[in-house]
Amino acid sequence: MDILLEIIMIPAVLALIKIVVIILLFALPLGTLLTLMERKWSAMIQDRVGPNRANIGSFTGHGLLHLAADGLKSIFKEDCIPRGANKFLYLLAPFFGMISAVAIFSIIPIAGPIGDFTFQVADVEPGLLFIFAITSLSVYGAVLAGYSSNSKFALLGGTRASAQMISYEVFMGLALMGVFMVYGTTRVSGIVDGQNEYWFGNLIPMWGVFTQPLGFILFFTALVAETKRPPFDAPEGESELVAGYFLEYSGMRWSAFMLAEYIAIVGVSVLMTTLFFGGYHVPWLHLWESAPQWLVTILQIIKFSIVTIFFCWFQIQLRWTVPKFRFDQTMSLGWKKLLPLSLLNLFVTAFVILAFA
């Protein structure tokens, strides 16, 4: 038993355990459940019933068994590689999206530290910039899938994806620069702790959404565009490109693209929670000074999860209520409207900090 405890306390082993727990207990289940949530919610919006047929005997679990059915289906489907495809790149492409979607969770704290133990895999100094570096690689998934499929639709989707994602990455970074300036650090734990301060006595918590309202909207828009979901789904373009860059994929590789998309949704929500809604800090909890540590930690995890799930739902709601942009509209929105706005946000933030702080 002691030896086991000693092995667990080795930093590398501890980090590995944290990675497994956060991915297997948080990212993957939420991502998988989102597929069902999206189908159910879209059905509700379109006045349908939604998936309810998969069953064991008379048990359907309100469509919950469709998750298992979908998984089994995609495992047993034939894994086709189109003729003339660049086989190496074709097989490589699904991994890029998956890796970059999962990597977001590596620096996100889901609860406050207890003593030396942190609920965070790594707290590196570049912090969010590290996340940008990894997520900027998710473009390769779309681009390589589009290029290697030997299909005109896929190639068009791939070119669109690369143009869109590069454009939106530009002001995604600029929008976040305001947050860095307000909290004076790029370290994620520093930003989260900075949001635990209060304005006007104990009235309003200094959450990112209050200190950086414009930055919040810009960053959220950029992140939604990065996940290539409607209203920014020109790279997939169901109505004109069929499925865009992953058109030729089938079976489990196709599922990998879909699952990466849903994990990316969870990643976006987690980022929004951490940067703009106080992270794990429960507002006004510090007023209750005699709160036991275990209760505080549980409340923090609950608060973090609730805000995260809210943003997951919000993105699904966005998809089924807002009409999509044409590709040229996506590009002109990014470069002509959102980029100047994010520059303006940067200048105003810098001015306010210089003048009043």
Partner: protein, 170 residues
Amino acid sequence: MLIIFYIFAALSVFGALGVLFLRNPIHSALSLVGTFFCLGAIYVMLNAEFVAVIQVLVYAGAIMVLFLFVLMLLSSKDSGDYVNKWTIGKILAGLLSLGIFVQIAGLFTAENLELGPKGTYPLEVVEEVGSIALIGRLLFTDYILAFEIIAVLLLVAVIGAVVIAKRRFQ
């Protein structure tokens, strides 16, 4: 630690060779991405996390994607009939790079070579203040002229691109 350095150093050299010798331009570009990653890993081992992140973010995440974008637009199916000709330009470039290689090799084999950390800021200061703050402070004080010149240079490039694109449309 040293063995990790050798692994990444070897990988980055392999990647650079792949850029030169692979036939398919997309494969060459991806090989270069791999090289950038290995360089980023080496920067991390030098305690320069910020430079490492920027290396991956800017080069692998943005510039190489633009390269791929252009390659895909050209969609070069005719990469097969590329013939390896010996032109004067190539010979000159080869001689030039050989000269640079000899210079660098001379630098490392010189007898008065000092190993170990260098510069005005020791590691403790960097870890205390944070490398981002230090780099920012230096950029806006000691190196402000170079910084401004680069900014103007980039602005010129942007304006040039806009002018060229506009002429095409009219």
